[in-house]
Symmetry: C2
Subunit: 353 residues, 2 copies
């Protein structure tokens, strides 16, 4: 399954034609625990295996997981583990642990459950673009169907109980990935982060908690769930995300109006470097591809189609490069192979154009 | 004449096929003064005009100047003046002065005399590659023929007298332009400059005195002429230049052997940036073109022929860009037009390849 995974474009990355491309994807996750077991951090290995069995059994009744497969984390190679992180199906902490843990995931990757992460269940729904309502109804249905077989840890006073107090209550985290090159370019992203931080909204890098922003990609998500209802959390996040998108869109218009040559220059240089570099780190590749995306969205660049670029943002991550090459690679080898993959795809497209 | 000038490739830049391309060109100049006049700095305008007449008259007897034209500096536009500097036919100080001064120059630019620079005559011969003997015999013949009509200021004790003591004696400066990207890349150029400095050899930037190195181009020349014969100066410079060329050549071999990907990476990125940038300063263009030249010389790059690249190193200088565009331009406009010219030429060549 993991080898097949990188052959195709994740559905949550497929943007509709004509839709403003600032919101890349929407992710909703629910944290749940089973009443009969201690939190994973305090479970024995046997108990953790029982949790995996219980969740897998319950998942048979869930419509969204009909086609899901079970991946035992201990059976995965280091590259496969990293691949799951890069595909946003697993947290780095989840795949790093030695104790029994498993991932239930559908072939299209839009629905998954980390079993024995910090909580027994971390169920996740991924959707392209800004579709919070759609993602919410999917994960809510999944949660309801699982609850028919699982007795969740629940307090009538606090709501759903979780290992970390920040998740107690709804266990809900709504997270929208935004592409914000203009806010970064104009040094306004810091102001946005601190402003929304004051009302309990976090802006994080591509890989979530503690990660740096890469390629001008930011995850905007709610910080706190305790004492708030799901609809309240969702409505607030929709408002904030809408405002950030407006800000980015206006800034892009201003940039292209006031500094068209500078934008064309940035985009052209990014393309030239990607097309002819022999060595490219993951971070540089992501950042240059992000600039190209902006160029395409602003209609100043059309030598490459958007799908090729956003696919490369996924495929040039370290584990993806190794799986595309069919072997483990050192950092130096990855940087060479990454540049080769990019050169080939950009040249192919350029010839077609 | 000045408009015509940039249509063609200066003959001193035309390298023979197969010749190691480290030595770009050889220049020899002789400083001479006419006994009957004070040095130019102390001449009245009338005296300076008389000097111009005397030199022009004497030049009629010089074989090398048969086709030469006389350009009065005061009649030139600022752009034309800058063009002469960029073509290495005039010093910045020479074209900057308001007092009467003139340039005698052959259409192929290989032979010229600045009249009323620091000295009454600064005669110059330019040759492609490393041809010190050839250049010397040309300038020596020119000097002899001029001396038939002109009474030079000469002291039997010191030799030829010049305005600046550093030129007293032979008035000779031999100067070889070297392309030294590997020495720069490996941070060894500083050591070379200080070592040869101790034995009276100067290593300067592209435009001579007080100028910074651009595009890894360095002029190596003798500092002192007093108390030394011409053949002594020439022999020493030939030796030193030969050693620097060997050093650069060996370092290039080492680089391509030990770090082939790094070299290809540098060269590829330079090409990509030149091909797709929308804004390019003169300095950045020269440096990137220089990296391309190295790539071509090291046989790691063949998308563009060497002649196109070395021609662009000339044509992307500020006055050249303005004359190619047929009008005066601001710095911002020049950076845009420079990038456009480069994009066009690189794309044309790539299509032919």
């Amino acid at each position: 399954m993991l080898e097949r995974m990188i052959q195709k474009r994740p559905p949550w990355l497929v943007a509709s034609p004509g839709v403003p491309a600032i919101a890349i994807s929407t992710r909703i996750r629910l944290a749940r625990n089973i009443e009969a077991f201690p939190f994973p951090g305090r479970c024995s290995d046997d108990q953790r295996r029982d949790v995996i069995s219980a969740v897998t059994e319950a998942a048979k009744g869930a419509t969204a997981l009909r086609t899901a497969q079970l991946l035992m984390i201990e059976a995965l190679t280091p590259v496969d583990k990293q691949l799951l992180v890069e595909r946003r199906l697993a947290s780095p902490e989840f795949v790093r642990q030695a104790a029994p843990a498993a991932l239930l995931v559908t072939p299209d990757e839009t629905c998954s459950i980390m079993i024995n992460e910090e909580d027994h269940l971390r169920m996740q729904v991924l959707r392209p673009e800004l579709h919070i309502d759609h993602a919410w109804s999917s994960v809510d249905e999944l949660d309801t169907q699982l609850e028919e077989s699982l007795q969740y840890a629940y307090s009538s006073r606090f709501g759903y109980l979780t290992a970390c107090p920040t998740n107690v209550g709804t266990g809900l985290r709504v997270s929208v990935m935004l592409h914000l090159p203009a806010l970064v370019h104009e040094h306004k992203i810091g102001g946005v982060i601190s402003a929304v931080g004051k009302i309990g909204i976090a802006v994080r890098g591509f890989y979530g908690e503690n990660s740096e922003a890469q390629g001008h990609l930011f995850q905007v998500s709610n910080q706190v769930t305790l004492g708030r209802g799901e609809s309240d959390i969702i409505r607030q996040l929709q408002q904030i995300v809408g405002r950030i998108i407006d800000h980015e869109a206006k800034l892009r218009e201003t940039l292209i109006k006031n500094a068209p040559h500078q934008i064309r220059n940035d985009v052209g240089r990014a393309f030239g470097t990607l097309k002819y570099a022999e060595i490219l780190t993951s971070q540089e590749a992501t950042e240059l591809l992000s600039v190209l995306l902006m160029g395409i969205d602003l209609h100043v660049f059309d030598e490459i189609d958007r799908a090729t670029v956003s696919q490369l943002m996924i495929d040039t991550q370290p584990a993806h490069v190794q799986i595309l090459c069919g072997k483990e690679l050192t950092t130096e080898q990855r940087d060479l192979e990454r540049a080769r993959i990019i050169r080939e795809r950009l040249n192919t497209r350029a010839d077609h154009a």
